[in-house]
């Protein structure tokens, strides 16, 4: 799995936020559009695309998109 591809799939879960806002360093929980539904969408996307079952606490423990990418990678 690649970081760039992960970021694109991550960004696809948002409707309002511009694609340019998503980089490895993006602190995603600080984005205006972030909500509990987005969190569920990210968990569902990772399950569907990477067959990894993230926990709610994984989302809590990740600050940046790269943090989450590393968690997903470690669980594959």
């Amino acid at each position: 799995m690649e970081l760039q591809e992960f970021i694109e799939k991550f960004a696809a879960q948002f409707d309002e936020t511009d694609a340019s806002a998503f980089t490895p360093e993006t602190e995603f929980k600080a984005l205006d559009e972030w909500s509990s539904l987005t969190a569920l969408s990210i968990i569902s996307m990772v399950d569907e695309e990477y067959e990894v079952l993230l926990k709610g606490n994984d989302i809590v423990n990740a600050e940046t998109i790269d943090d989450l990418y590393q968690i997903v990678k470690s669980k594959r």
Binding site: S41, I43, I59
Partner: protein, 248 residues
Amino acid sequence: MSYNPFSLDGKITLITGASSGIGQATAIECSKMGAKVIITARNEERLNETFAQLEGDGHQKIIADLTIPEDLDRLIESIPQLDGLVNNAGVIKTLPLKFINEHDLINILNINTFTPVFLTQRCIKKKKFSKKASIVFSSSVGGVYKVSLGNSMYEMSKNAIDAFMRSAALELAHNGIRCNSVNPGMIETPLIHRGTYSEEDRRKDIEKYPLKKYGQPQEVAFGIIYLLSDASAWVTGTSLKIDGGVTL
């Protein structure tokens, strides 16, 4: 003092999904109230754990996957006439709308909706209910009294079984058979401990409950006992909320 209108003394009661959560607590509590319980589930090891905790004797356990027609038929063949049936087995998967897929939707509807319908249907057809039998469905506040983000598949399955319960209550009333459901809010069971929600989500969610806690499986089992017992002899077609006030 022996007065107890909630007694299940000698009542033969079949409980599905008895290997964990609400089903396990219901089996144990029913046995303490004097019922002869027949417990069923897919997982042998966990079903044995429940069986070992039953009080009294004359109980029975049957390993079966009731989504498989042959297992369902085998179960029906091996049970005596029932005074009570608790259609409890259930699953959940939280997925936002755009991730709904055929596999998960069919699995949820199979276990939560179709199986209790077919089990009830087979029991009726094979005359497995005694006069004045009571059927209880484990439904939910979700899909019936409220909805929550990402749970559309689960909620439609529970709303459907609630509607079936009312239709069955009307149709079976002339046989003296009563049908009701229990509709719990969040209960501390393996079903909700899959980690989709973080500790922080959980704390925030509990704040929405006026009684400031999630329920315990026994607290639902006690509602089921009421509906199985003669104390509820004039109650049929009711969806009994057991929810810590979350729908207020």
